[in-house]
């Protein structure tokens, strides 16, 4: 992973000192609430329902065991002993006191971490595929590119006061794990006309109140031109994005109002002015960033060693976990393990200080000291020897981390919701829990197969409900919490937005409604057909009929 040099360290130290001074001035009454607001937000600090909430950046989801241990320490020292992994590969703490935050940031800086630009109307943490660098279907590792974008976007003086927040995702794999098309800018690594690798750049995707799929601005961008192309898009947006209405301020609205053709024309005109300028990447810089993401010292090992195959035959629980949670690795003899943190009764994404420490230990022992956070709020050990999988699984089982529901319907994406978040209309965590309780049988879950359920507590859509195969949105009706369901969303390469099925439901109806939806799917599915494919084939009507049928 990337390591800071003296420049990175210096900038981070400067930032901590700056924020300490700003916090002091705020506490002294020299900075008003309104003036402190964007300053604290650009340091990840919200003032929430119960206490401040601090969002810490995990650049493109990568964490070392040293960083995990520091996060565990922070959970203990500054919080009530736990943190929350978000849908944008970051981690949040819900209980730090405002006056302690500068110290907390100084602690983080020791392990090359920070909360810079994790909130506010600026360029946020760049996200990517959690399997970057190890996926078997990868064109090129996206992480060096994320790091290049991270550095360019960090403290960018021109784009710190954009009309609204701005999120960038990069994807280098065939299966899009990064929800690339619903970002303000989505970047795909692709092969160009002469088979050279470059980028296709999309803009205008997003969720929230007005969900949209991104459209292509630049069909093919050569590697050295990446930053100037991004800068051109940002400049058009900074100048022309709407500032009169917060709900119409995202770039997706600008792209929609101008039309993609007109937007592209403006972006191209800006690009022409800066293309080839100093911001053009040098081979040396590209190589420098790539040098941090080389293979760890793998051993030469065969695929499917005896220790694995015999354990798979003898232990059905292990076999079930293996088939659901272990993916093929680019390197023979290794596997990619996803630890699913979606145990029934625990809020999706929540993790205790002990679990963080334990993860660090597992990472050191089994995966070269690194883990990755996924936008589905799970954790990946990316480089596990196949002959150690069984041993790892036994340890995970003992620690209740071996839930074998990855990508199954109880692997729910969920925002913190009304229990924690000041913006939420409705609770979301108890909804996730009620669905998990409705489907306790592993056998049944495996039979139902891949089904993404996404839950958001309000239309800000932090739980990405629009792109869930089943999306659930909390709405407020005259002070009561109701839930609106949509079907058919997807965040993959075939991205689509879900369609609302009909009138909203009360909280207690949700488990039985989900049950009926699943019943319709099982009734209509063809051999090997996942939920989304069946829905796309048969459409909304059969689901609607069953869900709203009067009880006999």
């Amino acid at each position: 992973m990337y390591h800071y040099d003296k420049y990175d360290h210096q900038m981070l130290a400067d930032r901590v000192a700056q924020f300490r001074d700003q916090t002091d001035r705020y506490l002294d009454g020299k900075l008003s609430d309104a003036e402190f607001l964007p300053l604290r937000l650009q340091n990840g600090l919200y003032v929430q329902r119960m206490a401040p909430m601090l969002r810490i950046a995990v650049p493109y989801g990568l964490l070392s065991s040293t960083q995990l241990r520091k996060l565990a320490y922070i959970a203990r020292e500054y919080d009530k002993g736990y943190g929350h992994f978000t849908t944008r590969q970051n981690i949040q703490f819900n209980w730090p006191a405002l006056e302690d935050v500068p110290d907390l940031l100084a602690d983080l800086a020791e392990v090359e971490m920070h909360a810079i630009q994790t909130s506010g109307n600026c360029i946020r943490n760049t996200t990517t595929d959690q399997f970057a660098g190890v996926a078997a279907d990868e064109l090129e590792d996206s992480r060096p590119w994320c790091e290049i974008i991270r550095q360019w976007s960090t403290f960018h003086p021109e784009f710190a006061y954009l009309p609204r927040k701005f999120k960038i995702a990069v994807c280098g794999t065939k299966v899009d794990q990064a929800a690339t098309q619903v970002h303000d800018i989505g970047i795909y690594l692709i092969e160009g006309p002469e088979r050279q690798v470059g980028f296709r750049i999309l803009a205008g995707g997003g969720l929230g109140r007005t969900p949209m799929i991104g459209q292509t601005v630049f069909e093919f961008v050569e590697k050295p031109d990446l930053l100037t192309a991004l800068e051109a898009i940002l400049r058009v947006y900074n100048r022309e994005g709407r500032r009169d209405n917060k709900y119409k301020a995202r770039i997706k609205i600008l792209v929609k109002e101008l039309g993609i053709e007109a937007f592209r024309k403006k972006a191209c005109a800006e690009w022409e002015r800066i293309k080839g300028g100093p911001q053009t990447l040098t081979d040396q810089e590209i190589e420098r960033c790539k040098s941090y993401f080389v293979d760890p010292p793998y051993d030469d090992l065969p695929d499917a060693p005896d220790t694995l195959t015999s354990a798979l035959k003898e232990n059905l629980l292990f076999a079930s976990w293996y088939s659901q949670n272990v993916r093929p690795h680019r390197k023979t003899g290794y596997g990619i393990v996803t630890l699913c943190f979606k145990e029934t009764g625990v809020a999706p994404g929540d993790i205790t200080d002990r679990q963080l420490d334990y993860l660090a230990e597992l990472a050191d022992h089994y995966s070269f000291g690194e883990v990755r956070i996924t936008h589905e709020q799970n954790i990946v050990l990316a480089d596990v020897r196949q002959d150690q999988l069984f041993e790892l699984w036994r340890k995970l089982s003992a620690a209740s981390l071996a839930t074998a529901n990855l990508n199954l319907m109880t692997d729910i994406i969920c925002c913190p919701g009304g229990d924690f978040c000041a913006l939420a209309n409705a609770k979301s965590i108890p909804i996730a829990e009620s669905i998990q309780r409705e489907f306790p049988s592993q056998e049944e879950l495996t039979d139902i197969g891949e089904l993404d359920i996404n839950i958001s507590g309000c239309m800000n859509a932090c739980g990405h409900h629009h792109v869930g195969n089943i999306g659930i949105l909390g709405v407020d009706k005259k002070g009561e919490e109701f839930y609106q369901l949509s079907l058919g969303g997807s965040s993959k390469h075939d991205a689509s937005l879900g369609k609302i099925i009909g009138p909203a439901f009360a909280q207690e109806e949700i488990p039985s409604v989900i049950r009926r939806i699943v019943d319709v799917y099982r009734e209509h599915r063809q051999e090997g057909e996942a939920f989304l494919a069946t829905y796309r084939r048969i459409g909304m009507d059969p689901f609607k009929e069953k869900v709203y049928a009067k009880a006999d």
């Binding site: 210096q10 900038m11 400067d14 003036e35 954009l162 900074n238 300028g277 100093p278 911001q279």
Partner: protein, 166 residues
């Protein structure tokens, strides 16, 4: 009290900012001043300005763009860019455009809601004069230019991005 920072120092302001778009009669009432006038004033009363004894600068509001002045900008010794609120970031782009594309070499002044905590980024985008808001402590503001020792990106104060320097 001095409220203008130029090249890192507090200085007296030789300019008078004409905030409101008044008519050209102002030029008759106060002769021999140095005025910074709104863009619209210049567009409407150019001939009156030609006959005036004092000097002129122009100020742009945040929804106006540098392209609205065009190449004639070079004859103005100062161009001021307004921040109606500090969180409106359009003037940063205007400042960069002045310096980067038009190679404007006069004074680029920040006016309006100009606060201590935004000065550093303003400087990086090409502002070299700052008319700070009435309640800002001038001494504290002077420190803002040292908030960071360097930055990653190419900028007006450092045209080479860090990756070409490290």
């Amino acid at each position: 009290m001095q409220r203008l920072i130029k090249n890192g120092e507090l200085v007296n302001d030789p300019w008078t900012l004409l905030r409101e778009a008044t008519g050209p009669e102002i030029l008759k009432i106060v002769p021999g001043k140095n005025f910074i006038v709104p863009l619209r004033f210049w567009k409407l009363y150019r001939s009156d300005m030609d006959d005036y004894a004092g000097a002129f600068g122009i100020w742009l509001d945040s929804q106006e763009t540098v392209g609205d002045i065009g190449e004639e900008m070079h004859k103005f010794p100062v161009i001021a860019l307004n921040f109606p609120v500090f969180s409106d970031g359009r003037a940063y782009t205007n400042a960069r455009e002045l310096r980067e594309f038009y190679k404007y070499e006069g004074e680029v002044r920040a006016i309006g809601d100009v606060l201590r905590d935004q000065l550093f980024y303003m400087m990086r985008c090409g502002f070299d004069a700052f008319e700070i808001r009435h309640d800002q402590e001038p001494e504290a503001c002077l420190k803002a230019f040292a908030d960071f020792q360097t930055g990653y990106q190419a900028s007006i104060d450092q045209p080479q991005p860090l990756f070409r320097r490290r």
